[in-house]
């Protein structure tokens, strides 16, 4: 059974200047144990997708339409208390800034044992033992001694490991990781990514990895969804999307990433910038910047459709009726 199913999600922000549509008809699914990368630039709506799923959307933002199903049960319209029980137990979360993800006033051990006890029937002693186990598993040396340390006594990379331990301590089926490595040094990033991959593989946990860093996706994800202006532009296996990008935006994105060994004088540039939420064009949101734009792109918004490759893209180039030239 599909672990997570998002159908036609629509997230709005009512403001005095009208309603802003931050996520516009987004659908995707995550199978148990798979890593889905959600990649996009700032303002594309990827973080919002994560917060909507986990039920932490800040008012006045609200889910205006669509359904979110977790393990066959709907979770977008349930009351707060029910969602609270699901959070942590079935869905874990890892956010960007390890410093603010942990409560500075409580020891790491207390935060872990508290979370474990809330979501299981363990006693304090058992939960404590499990916490030490978890800390070792995430690679914190001398876990038994460090269980009594406060968050500020750890370095950035160590703190993020603790956050990962916290996210996994109740054995959730799905972990939503929002930019988990952006605030870390590159050498630590590589360590954390490797850790996340290994743990999720060992615990059979699925991951929704939200990031702007294509490199992280290339290393970690099985499938990837590329978001643009609140919509999914392309979705498919990581290898396909990265090496054989089908949507012009993805193509442009991949071309703008410098790669050592690929010597170019100028990086590929996508003219203009992502439209603001108040200025999303009619039809395909990418039409002002697209090198392959045609008339239909200005009128009708494309849905995700099969392409001549393995991934799906929301682009009229792959319109079935149009004859291939």
């Amino acid at each position: 059974m599909t672990l997570l199913e998002v159908k036609n999600l629509r997230v709005e922000f009512p403001t005095r200047r009208g309603t802003l549509l931050a996520i516009d008809d987004v659908s995707f699914s995550i199978e148990p144990g798979e890593v889905l990368g959600v990649v996009g630039e700032s303002g594309a709506g990827k973080s919002l997708t994560g917060t909507s799923i986990i039920g932490l959307l800040e008012p006045p933002g609200r889910i205006a339409a669509g359904e979110i199903w977790l393990e066959g049960e709907r979770i977008d319209d349930i009351p707060y208390d029910e969602m609270r029980r699901i959070r942590g137990k079935k869905i874990g979360a890892i956010f960007q800034d390890p410093l603010t993800s942990l409560n500075p006033l409580y020891t790491v051990g207390k935060q872990l044992t508290e979370t474990i006890m809330v979501h299981s029937d363990m006693t304090q002693t058992d939960a404590s033992a499990r916490a030490i186990e978890l800390l070792s598993e995430v690679g914190i040396p001398a876990a038994k001694e460090r269980i009594g340390s406060y968050p500020h006594e750890f370095s950035g990379g160590m703190r993020q490991r603790v956050v990962i331990a916290l996210a996994l301590c109740a054995n959730p089926k799905l972990v939503i990781a929002d930019e988990p490595t952006t605030a870390l040094d590159v050498s630590i990033q590589a360590q954390i990514i490797a850790l996340l991959k290994r743990l999720c593989h060992d615990h059979k946990t699925a991951v929704m990895l939200i990031t702007h860093d294509m490199g992280v996706i290339a290393e970690t994800a099985d499938r990837v969804a590329v978001m643009y202006a609140g919509r999914i532009a392309e979705i498919g296996q990581v290898r396909d999307v990265i090496k054989h990008a089908k949507h012009p935006y993805t193509e442009g994105l991949m071309g703008s990433i410098p790669v050592p060994g690929h010597d170019v004088e100028q990086l590929q540039q996508i003219a203009g910038s992502m439209p603001r939420l108040t200025e999303i064009p009619e039809g395909c949101a990418f039409n002002p910047r697209c090198p392959h734009v045609r008339d239909k792109c200005f009128e009708v918004r494309p849905e995700l459709m099969p392409t001549d490759g393995a991934s799906m893209a929301a682009c009229w180039i792959y319109e079935p009726e149009v004859a291939r030239v």
Partner: protein
């Protein structure tokens, strides 16, 4: 681009840095020290850096947090005073310039671009005033109309429009603000630009635009760049020469191609290994260990020895010096003793 012939092989380098060091006193307050019986604490942010930058080239300093690369940038433009060492710009030691005029003349020749597009422009000033500030400060042009014209020219040069000069920074996106920063930097007609992580806060496609712009400007205006970054892929793309820093010291200096083809220092190799595998070759990765140590209390000898697979007794006790090795300059005992491979 990385192997372009040196345009000024005979002329002295535009910038020469010799044994540059900056120590910060991070001791606790006097009373606290007395009561807790603690000694003074010093942070050696930069500890003896030497390198040259030739006219017209792009030299990059790359490293992780705490390595001191931003401090180097600030030392060169005069935001910090060096604790030791000398900075020689176009043959003249900048510490020798004492009179107000001398200092002003020197200051005109370089400029700086900063990392955070949201903090590098005064939110209460209009773009026109922001870009014109260096022009006014150095009295390059006199009438208000001429200043406006020049500002318009500069904005066009960086890909914006003259009409943008009446707006405020918050009306622009991150990439556009960075363009405004570049316009401001160019307004005093400098020869040398210090760029402190100019694209780190930008999205990847915007980064490509800004990097392309910077390359164009370099070609059209004959600029020399000191480029600071933690992103090796970006650094490969823009640089002629690259210096790798770790905890305030240089590990290796080489041309971009040489550094990536034959990295010698173990830390360089570690860094290169962290570059994502965009070609999806699923290459083997050597597992990385440890974290960057606290710069206030650095390891003895070679600062990298706790994390280095090739560390021996000498590495623990003796700080390695930069030495020429093949086409690079490396500070590593293992390289010197030929233990690397």
């Amino acid at each position: 681009m990385s192997d372009r012939p040196d345009p000024s092989a005979t002329a002295p380098a535009l910038l020469q840095v010799r044994d540059l060091a900056k120590h910060f006193d991070v001791s606790k307050g006097w009373l606290t020290r007395i009561l807790e019986n603690q000694p003074r604490q010093h942070l050696k942010a930069v500890d003896g850096l030497s390198f040259d930058i030739e006219k017209g080239e792009t030299f990059s300093l790359v490293g992780e947090s705490g390595c001191g690369k931003s401090t180097v940038a600030k030392l060169i433009v005069g935001l910090h005073t060096p604790s030791r060492g000398s900075i020689i710009f176009d043959g003249a030691n900048i510490a020798d310039a004492t009179s107000h005029n001398e200092v002003a003349t020197l200051r005109r020749r370089w400029q700086m671009i900063f990392q955070d597009p949201y903090a590098s422009l005064n939110p209460r000033w209009r773009v026109r005033d922001i870009v014109a500030e260096p022009i006014r400060q150095f009295k390059l042009v006199n009438s208000a109309r001429e200043i406006d014209e020049r500002v318009g020219e500069l904005l066009v040069q960086v890909g914006l429009s003259p009409a943008d000069s009446a707006k405020f920074p918050h009306e622009f996106s991150g990439g556009q603000r960075q363009r405004i920063s570049i316009a401001r930097a160019l307004s005093s007609e400098p020869e040398f630009l210090v760029c402190d992580e100019p694209t780190s806060a930008l999205d990847v496609s915007v980064q490509a635009q800004i990097l392309n712009l910077m390359k164009d400007l370099q070609r059209n205006l004959g600029l020399t760049y000191l480029f600071i970054s933690h992103n090796l892929a970006v650094v490969y793309h823009v640089s002629n020469k690259i210096g790798v820093m770790y905890l305030g010291r240089l590990c290796e200096i080489a041309t971009a191609k040489t550094l990536f083809r034959t990295p010698l220092h173990p830390y360089t190799r570690l860094l290169l290994d962290t570059i994502p595998d965009m070609d999806m070759t699923c290459r083997e990765r050597t597992p990385v260990s440890g974290e960057v140590p606290n710069p206030i209390d650095p390891p003895s000898g070679c600062a990298f020895h706790p994390r280095c697979p090739l560390a021996n007794e000498r590495c623990r006790n003796e700080t390695p010096k930069l030495r020429s090795e093949a086409e690079s300059v490396v500070a590593c005992h293992a390289v010197e003793e030929n233990r690397h491979s």
